[in-house]
């Protein structure tokens, strides 16, 4: 694995944070998350197929209410991180049987010489591992506050 520094708060843009996910199903959540990416409708369709196939391989819900759907795709030319939050939570076939409420979608192009994809995946998984149920990520009101909290958590890693 490479050693390129990855800033999650730097990757996240306010337009890529949806704190009001409404879908009640896994596929609905994936569709909503992909919708935050500024791509064509066709690209959204192809990405949805790709992400569903990755979930069929095994759930990307790592427990504690956090899911990290991810895939590589030709549809993008740079790594994209999208975050979302569902108030009610959605069944993502998690290890601990708890509904997922926080989502971090990572999509990376196949050509990734700095290995940013795996580094980003690892960093989010690490961040999620120590996340308390009372963490402000579950309650903040704006994308800016959400990104700010991610920045705080990153400093603690």
């Amino acid at each position: 694995m490479g050693s390129a520094p990855v800033s999650l708060s730097g990757l996240l843009k306010p337009g890529q944070v949806n704190l009001g996910l409404r879908a009640a199903s896994r596929d609905g959540i994936l569709k909503e998350l992909i919708g935050q990416a500024p791509l064509s409708e066709k690209a959204h369709q192809i990405l949805l197929v790709n992400l569903r196939q990755r979930e069929d391989l095994g759930s990307t819900d790592i427990g504690r209410g956090v899911a990290i759907p991810h895939c590589r795709s030709l549809m993008l030319n740079s790594l994209t991180l999208i975050a979302g939050r569902s108030k009610a939570g959605v069944d993502f076939s998690s290890i601990d049987k708890k509904p997922a409420r926080l989502f971090f979608l990572i999509i990376a192009p196949p050509h990734d010489p700095k290995n940013l994809y795996l580094i980003t995946l690892g960093k989010i998984a690490q961040l999620a591992k120590d996340l308390e149920p009372s963490d402000p990520l579950y309650t903040v009101d704006t994308p800016g506050e959400f990104i700010g909290r991610i920045a705080e958590l990153e400093k603690q890693l």
Binding site: L57, G58, S59, I62, I68, I95, L118
Partner: protein, 115 residues
């Protein structure tokens, strides 16, 4: 997008998922992800392959054997397989993903990423 190009892109992405899950299963599991349904992906791959025209599929297999990645993006007018610049007329054509195109130099299938 040309329906056959869409299938090639889908197949390419699917093969990438299978490859990474196979080669880095331990790493993915260490992060907390489940890797248990490989048969679903293998089945999906076969289904996609069945829909691709035989001539295109044969070329895909040959390119995969030669280069590993038979479909590559074109970014800023450059083939990301061999890094040769595409002819300007080809790169500026808005309908460029509406047909199957191969790189004039390396032969890989090309997909123009939105820029």
């Amino acid at each position: 997008m040309h329906p056959q190009l869409e299938l090639l892109v889908t197949l390419h992405d699917l093969e990438l998922t299978i490859k990474e899950a196979t080669e880095d299963a331990a790493g993915q599991k260490a992060l907390g992800f489940k890797i248990e349904g490989m048969e679903h992906l293998t089945k999906a791959k076969v289904e996609v392959e069945k829909q691709v025209d035989k001539g295109i599929m044969d070329r895909y297999y040959k390119l995969r054997e030669r280069y590993g990645r038979p479909v590559v993006p074109v970014i800023n007018g450059i083939c990301c397989g061999c890094y040769i610049r595409m002819p300007t007329a080809q790169s500026s054509d808005n309908e460029r993903n509406q047909r199957i195109t191969n790189c004039g130099n390396c032969g890989r299938f090309l997909y123009w990423v939105s820029e």
